[in-house]
Subunit: 135 residues, 2 copies
Amino acid sequence: MSNVRFATALHILTLLELNREQFLSSEFIAGSININPAVVRKEISNLRALGLVESKEGKGGGYALGKPASKIALSDVYRSVNDLPLLGRSNTPNPNCPVGRQINVHLADLFASADTAFLKEIGKITVEDFSKKFR
Amino acid sequence: MSNVRFATALHILTLLELNREQFLSSEFIAGSININPAVVRKEISNLRALGLVESKEGKGGGYALGKPASKIALSDVYRSVNDLPLLGRSNTPNPNCPVGRQINVHLADLFASADTAFLKEIGKITVEDFSKKFR
DNA sequence: AAAACTGTAACAATTTTTGGTACAGTATTT
DNA sequence: AAATACTGTACCAAAAATTGTTACAGTTTT
């Protein structure tokens, strides 16, 4: 993955966990991450779709965790920021070549099992675990 | 990873394994993958740096595996095409925020252990294993 | 009604990735 | 030694992905 979205999402969730008692605004969060508030709102848009964050509109509104940090695995976070296989995409190879003709199905299998193994691994860690490092 | 290089590299290695008896040209390989020969040569440049492929210049030259397919793990292939962490990059957060100040070291730990777990997993599969699917 | 927020669209800017051309260098063949 | 058929790599172009920005309608509180 050559983007910064996982780091951003986990940063957001960590801030929410460490400030459970209040709603945090996109501006506050953006200030901590050092990015644009609209980017924060867009990222949270995905996190909310998965139930990881809840939001409150209007004055005094903002964001909070959508469920206990102990129930949010890093695999959930990963899913919210990425749909592509870890191992990347495939080519569109030459169907007249025996290898070219078959490789994409074998790659698809491989990509799927690699993803599964990885998600299982990072699924062992929760946002609570991660947040506890900030003490 | 949002690129196609792993698929390309594994395709190359598979072709070389299934045609052990001869040197394959970049043009032949490119024809199978359906990409530009120069892209193949560039990709092989990395694979060769790791000893996974050997090349022969001049007329009649081309490429062959640099070691037995049974000794080339998919983690080696992955390393040749990617240096970034699986979980992506970090931001450059606000040092005046307690979370912003610390998060990158915690992320670095997390990224490193996630990479290690993943590489260990795909390290169990070799190019030989993968190539055997093409029968 | 004013203020302070979110939600999202639309677009711009930047960065990464891929593709393509060109050509010097090398080994083989005749 | 000349022709041929390759690799190696630099350099640039094109395309795609990512990130940043502005704007503003909608919502809730005061």
